[in-house]
Amino acid sequence: MLDRTDAEAISRRVRRRILSTIHSAGAGHAGGSLSSVEILVALYFDVLRLDAANPKWPQRDRFILSKGHASSALYSVLVERGLMESDLLRSFGRIDSELQVHPDMHRLEWVEISTGSLGQGLSVGVGTALGARLTGSDFATYVLLGDGECQEGQVWEAAMAAAHYRLDSLVAIVDSNQAQLTGRTSDVMDICPLRDKWAAFGWDVVEADGNDVIAIRQALLVPRGSRGRPSVVIAHTTKGEGVSFMEAGGHTWHGRVPTAHELDLALAELADAGRSKGGEPRECN
């Protein structure tokens, strides 16, 4: 298990990689990648059962990045975890690249399933969890969704099915950064109260500060597998987390590429010892 100092240092390095990658490619999604960093660091370092030498190990836990636009965060975490060469990041979004702006399972073996059209990943997770049961496997399935993504009806079709089939090997994580492309999630189409919605659909709900790497890891490590209910971790995060002007910009940084100057400012902030955001739970309004 990573200690807080190491985990926060890794998270800062991941953020630097994300922003450099997006700036260099001229493409990508900074805000929603930055908000999901600690979730992905916790998963890939301390939560997911995986074999670094064999991405297709049959007993591996399945991770589905349903919010596929956070690909730069996934790729950067894979690099930090030693699962991918850092040089590859330079090809992000370029012709012939393994690193598609929305992840492609046929190009990068660590990508479990291609995503990018929002709302679809949880259904796939229901399928892999059912498949584990039918094939006698004991792997868990983790699916990371955006909060805006929860506006898609298919998410709730899948939520219903997961509870109906008592899929306790399935864990959904909502990166609740409260902003989406065109505005605040509460203004675009309010999805609150998220906790009550998931609970009403038959899920066990845990809330945590999604940008506190230790807090989110604790939430993800809550024992599961015998209660006959799927679980969801509502990760309260900040869009653009870690870079002051991106945090302030909220939704405007959903798909904006930082200029060279903005990149310099951001990297300077991220080079600092960093500020720990642990402690204060952020509530769904």
Binding site: I113, S114, Q120, G121, S123, G125, V126, G127, L134, A161
Partner: protein, 324 residues
């Protein structure tokens, strides 16, 4: 036209064959969106209930779950009406099945105009066009119960996405004794030299009847049962059209983007030839019995005979013009 007593619909043949094969192959699973009695997946449900997954009325979720099941090495069959599996779940089919190339089998019962008098909402007329336009999906529409049984087996053996289109009602059997269906191979259902019918599904028996009528008028029509709509058996179609020079396509679907579209695309680039496309002419259907529907929408034997005449006239006018 009526079916002989022992012939069953292609949906019935699909359901029975799948249930029977699933008893011996533990990798086969079936997903249903509350239509099992209509798609005939009910046979599977009764035979292997532990591998039958009811998802409720939620086709998009069904296709996503199927992708996840295929991801774990299983062979999921998703059953619904052809309208819902193609239109309602189109994005899921394109991205989670087509783009991923996962081993998902999509089954559209109630293909086309003749869909149990349910009217326009339940008449799948653009499903073939939708499935054809999505890369990596094999599109099959068997003509009768015998061919459907073999197509289900072939779909299981084939590693990758397949769309299997069924018809609700029984139509006359066209498969000759000893026939072997293979994905990508069309079958010559009647030999001829004056005009070529390229058809699929229940339209094959209609075209055979049209060919019989034409033969009374001294016209020799070839009928190609094109049960694999994608990938198209270009070789067989081109070799027939080189002989006849006149083509009629016939499908229980819109003429835009389906079998007629596929044949026109092939001929346009390889062997430009007069091609009359029989099927729904860019419009929606309505309620009515099968005979009335096929008559009103220009898809009965009478219209097929007329279409053959038109294709041959166009060919003859063109060759006349060339010789002037």
């Amino acid at each position: 036209m009526s079916a002989t007593d022992d012939v069953v619909s292609t949906r019935e043949a699909f359901g029975k064959t799948l249930a029977s094969l699933a008893k011996e192959n533990a990798r086969i699973v079936a997903l249903d969106a509350d239509l099992a009695s209509s798609t005939r997946m009910s046979y599977f449900r009764d035979a292997v209930p532990e591998r039958f997954i009811q998802v409720g009325i939620a086709e998009q979720n069904m296709v996503g779950i199927a992708a996840g099941l295929a991801h774990t090495g299983l062979i999921p069959f998703c059953g619904s009406f052809a309208t819902f599996i193609s239109r309602r779940a189109c994005d899921q089919v394109a991205l989670l099945v087509g783009h991923t190339r996962l081993n998902v089998k999509l089954v559209g019962a109630y293909g086309g105009l003749v869909s149990g008098n349910n009217g326009a909402t339940h008449q799948a007329v653009e499903d073939i066009a939708i499935m054809r336009a999505i890369p990596n999906i094999v599109v099959l529409e068997p003509a009768d119960d015998i061919e459907m049984g073999m197509a289900v087996e072939a779909a299981i053996e084939y590693e990758g996405p397949v769309y299997l289109r069924c018809t609700r009602d029984p139509w006359p059997r066209v498969s000759p004794p000893g026939y072997r269906f293979r994905i990508g191979k069309a079958a010559c259902a009647a030999e001829g030299s004056d005009v070529t019918f390229v058809c699929s599904g229940m339209m094959v028996s209609q075209c055979i009847e049209a060919a019989e009528r034409l033969s009374c008028e001294g016209v020799s029509a070839e009928v190609i049962n094109c049960a694999t709509i994608k990938p198209l058996d270009a070789e067989m179609i081109l070799s027939s059209v080189r002989k006849t020079g006149a083509v009629v396509t016939a499908e229980n679907a819109s003429v835009i983007g389906g079998l007629g579209g596929a044949v026109a695309e092939l001929l346009g680039s390889e062997l430009p030839s007069p091609t009359v496309r029989v099927g729904l002419q860019d419009e929606y259907g309505e309620c009515g019995d099968n005979v009335s529907l096929l008559h009103k929408y220009g898809m009965d034997v009478e219209h097929l005979v007329e279409a053959a005449g038109k294709a041959m006239r166009l060919r003859d006018q063109r060759s006349g013009a060339k010789h002037r």
